[in-house]
């Protein structure tokens, strides 16, 4: 210590210089904050200076400055967290000026009298002023509580004169208000009135023991054993709570546990810091507890943190499950579905073998029930993978605010459908797509406030996001009330860049032209130009949507706004699909039903063969035939002048079967099948081997009930061929 004392004396002059410098800086910053009371930079700087003053003054035992700076630091810390406070309470600035004058006065007096370091009456009174200002901000206004109490009394007096239904409602309201009051006044009541119950376990004694020990430490009255006693009490509490805790308290308990571990591992001493740490932890835990107040005045039960209002909502119990486990479970369900197909297959074999009809019917019923159960099982486990759209949507109000501020526009964000569920795997792609659409809506869609006023529109533009669940899809609509798309300008830009030809431009409908905003040639990031209403990054929207078999629709209202709709099929996230089983030549393939538009039978002579391939006429449309056999290399069976092989004896030589495909755009293409084998539920397995992944016209394989492996046709790839 002797060295430190010498140091202190030597350094004291420097300390005073430092405080003088700080006082000068504070004066300037206070003038600045008066001009701009919300400047977070100045607020933080003021906080930092109070903090430093407190720290160094404590070191030199200048208690008066240390204490005042400490309280002013608390005040600044509150303002730092909510920089609207200074605007609401402008008197705080006067208080800060006064504080600075007091600092100046103390430093001046210290020059004369080195012992002028203790608190005077004037200093204490000033700290009182700061405290009452802090109380005002905290609105721990006892007046408010009193008037609420009075209101309750009045209402209760009214009760007898009211109708019965009104009475019920009123009673409920009274209970609510009362619960709120209990929470508001918990701090004011002696802690001895409160018991701590956690999921039925009474932990009051443990909490009490810890509190007593903490007080001893705080007053520096601890004995050497007390540190050990405290540690064992804390450990006991920790263990007791770890046993009974629910999820919300779990993280706090984990933190307490971490704290215990860290403090013992690093050999940190049981000093004031540790006391503060455990006091804070304990207080938070107490808040999370089910608190039962034993006061005769207020006989209500309330969950301390969440407040009375939420306690009416039914409790949803949650457990944490590893995502990998869910996927594993899903895989097992997938296998079950295949097994149930075996049952279907068996049923078919039984029928062929001529088994007793009644027996067959029983078997069929059981088989169907199992199949239904499995589908339900799959559906509920898929729900586990789902999250609410809010996960994405919550970011948009901020995004719209930031963009519009930056470019001098005024925009309001209106959102609905936050609770619509979406599969987790879609989240990132959907969010990215939506960010591009919303950004473009504000950036290019909405006009400046001046332009809007001139067009007789409200000054402030609106961007709407609306999410609706559909039977087999999620529909996300982003609309704005801006200027809409300029179709002619889009067409000319597209022509200019060679994205479309003159003839195409002529033939294009407005609707088709509006889809050009998603064309990668027109809307890549490096060509960040305003494409008369839309542009940057919209190609990303299309890429992301395609990945999930989604579709995009655009509704343009020139001068009034634009609506972009995204539709994402939900079935896409399921592992099973209904599929059509086809025989092509000697091979069997399946084609998911979602890609099937229609199955048509056409007389052989109605199919015309051109150089480019076969076509036929169906409902006044010319349908072309994709040469599947040629594409798949079933070469010897290719061609129009085909000869029926042994494997297709049942096929009529007169009629040919075509499956018209369904794509994202209206399709006039079909594939030919030699036989339709039926329809069944398939479990899609994605290719795991690289060799298979390179197969051009398939996107997976499935296992049939009879054990055969069948490839799944990918209609998108076929349509692109």
């Amino acid at each position: 210590m002797s060295v430190s004392d010498e140091n202190l004396a030597e350094l004291f002059e420097q300390y005073k210089d430092e405080v003088r410098e700080t006082i000068g800086t504070l004066d300037n910053e206070l003038v600045a904050i008066e001009q701009e009371p919300t400047s977070s930079e100045t607020i933080f700087s003021l906080f930092r200076h109070m903090h430093s003053l407190k720290g160094s003054s404590k070191m030199f035992n200048v208690d008066n400055i240390a204490n005042i700076a400490h309280r002013l630091e608390d005040l600044m810390s509150m303002i730092d967290k909510n920089n609207a406070i200074l605007t609401k309470h402008p008197k705080i600035i006067d208080l800060l000026f006064k504080g600075n004058d007091i600092f100046r006065d103390i430093i001046a007096k210290l020059e004369e009298d080195i012992s002028y370091t203790t608190m005077t009456v004037e200093h204490a009174a000033f700290i009182g002023e700061i405290q009452s200002q802090i109380d005002k901000i905290n609105r721990r206004d006892s007046q408010l509580i009193d008037s609420a109490r009075k209101l309750i009394d009045d209402l209760e007096a009214l009760l007898p004169s009211l109708e019965e239904t009104e009475t019920e409602n009123l009673k409920k309201d009274i209970v609510d208000v009362n619960n709120g009051l209990t929470l508001a006044t918990l701090d004011e009541m002696g802690s001895s009135q409160i018991r701590f119950n956690y999921n039925g376990a009474d932990l009051t004694q443990d909490v009490r023991a810890m509190e007593e020990l903490l007080t001893k430490f705080k007053d520096l009255k601890q004995t050497p054993e007390d540190a050990d006693n405290f540690m064992s009490a804390a450990n006991k509490l920790y263990n007791a709570m770890a046993d009974v805790a629910t999820e919300d308290a779990m993280s706090l308990i984990a933190e307490l546990g971490d704290g215990l571990t860290l403090f013992s591992e690093r050999h940190l001493e049981m000093d004031l810091m540790m006391v503060e740490f455990f006091t804070a932890m304990l207080n938070e835990l107490k808040e999370k507890f089910q608190v039962e107040v034993e006061s005769p005045a207020v006989k209500t039960k309330a969950s301390a943190k969440s407040g009375a209002g939420t306690s009416k909502e039914p409790q949803v119990k949650t457990i944490r499950v590893d995502e990998a486990k869910i996927d594993l479970f899903l895989e097992s369900v997938g296998k079950l579905i295949t097994k149930s197909e075996i049952l279907n297959h068996l049923q078919f074999s039984f029928r062929q073998a001529g088994i007793d009809i009644a027996l067959l019917r029983d078997f069929s019923t059981v088989s169907r029930t199992i199949s239904n159960d499995i589908v339900n099982l799959q559906r509920s486990i898929m729900e586990v993978r789902q999250v609410e759209m809010n996960n994405i949507l919550k970011k948009f109000p901020r995004l719209v605010r930031d963009i519009s501020h930056k470019i001098g526009k005024e925009a309001e964000m209106v959102i609905s459908g936050e609770r619509v569920p979406i599969d987790k795997s879609l989240l990132d792609d959907v969010e990215q797509a939506m960010v591009h659409i919303v950004r473009n809506a504000v950036d290019h869609g909405l006009e400046t406030p001046e332009e809007r006023m001139a067009a007789n529109k409200p000054r402030r533009g609106t961007v709407n996001i609306n999410v609706t669940p559909e039977e087999a899809a999620i529909y996300i609509e982003v609309s704005d009330d801006g200027r809409g798309l300029n179709i002619e300008k889009i067409k000319s830009k597209a022509l200019e860049r060679g994205a479309i030809t003159d003839e195409q431009a002529q033939a294009m409908t407005d609707k088709e032209a509006s889809m050009l905003i998603f064309n990668s040639g027109l809307s890549t990031k490096d060509q960040a130009t305003d494409l008369s209403g839309r542009g940057v990054g919209m190609d990303v929207v299309m890429t992301n949507l395609k990945k999930w078999n989604g579709e995009v629709v655009v509704d343009n209202y020139p001068g009034r706004g634009l609506t972009v709709g995204l539709r994402l099929p939900v079935t896409n996230t399921l592992l099973t699909k209904e599929a059509l089983m086809l025989r092509v030549g000697s091979s069997t393939f399946c084609l998911p039903l979602e890609f099937v538009n229609e199955i048509v039978t056409v007389p052989a002579e109605a199919v015309h063969h051109h150089k480019e391939g076969a076509v036929f006429r169906h409902r006044d449309m010319v349908i072309s035939v994709i040469d599947l056999k040629g594409l798949l290399g079933l070469a010897n069976e290719t061609g129009g002048d085909r000869v029926p092989t042994e494997t297709e004896p049942l096929k009529s030589s007169k009629n040919r079967i075509f499956v018209i495909l369904r794509g994202k755009i209206e399709s006039r293409q079909s594939i030919e099948a030699d036989e339709i084998l039926g329809q069944q539920k398939i479990v899609i397995k994605e290719f795991e081997l690289e060799t298979f992944r390179r197969l051009p016209y398939f996107n997976g394989l499935t296992l049939l009930g009879d054990g055969r492996v069948v490839l799944i046709l990918d209609s998108e790839k076929l349509l692109d061929s």
């Binding site: 060295v3 160094s56 404590k58 860290l262």
Partner: protein, 126 residues
Amino acid sequence: MPLGAGQTVLIVDDSPVMRQMLHKMFVNEGFNVVGQAADGEEALTLFERHKPQLTTLDIVMPKIRGTEVLETLMAKYPDSRIIMASSVSDARTVMHCLKIGAKQYIIKPYDEDKVMSAVKKALDLS
């Protein structure tokens, strides 16, 4: 017997008088103070330059806060021996710093005994 044997030390604090004080404590105990930084930015620069065996780190500072400095240093040099020396006594900050790798945490006001006791533990000196 001085505690140190020429181990290199970096002192980070925005108050010159606090730096001086710590400087004197370390020099008296036979340490080699290789640098003093007045803000978080300077702290990172000087740390890169000297790779000190021990660092005392304040938290509330201009430019970059001490907690961020700690995060950056621990991510890049996980073996760093850093003592937080601050008047921030908020439980979460203390926990956070210790969790991400600060060896010790001392709260102002501290005296030479308290500082050296923390230094001893941080450097595993007996």
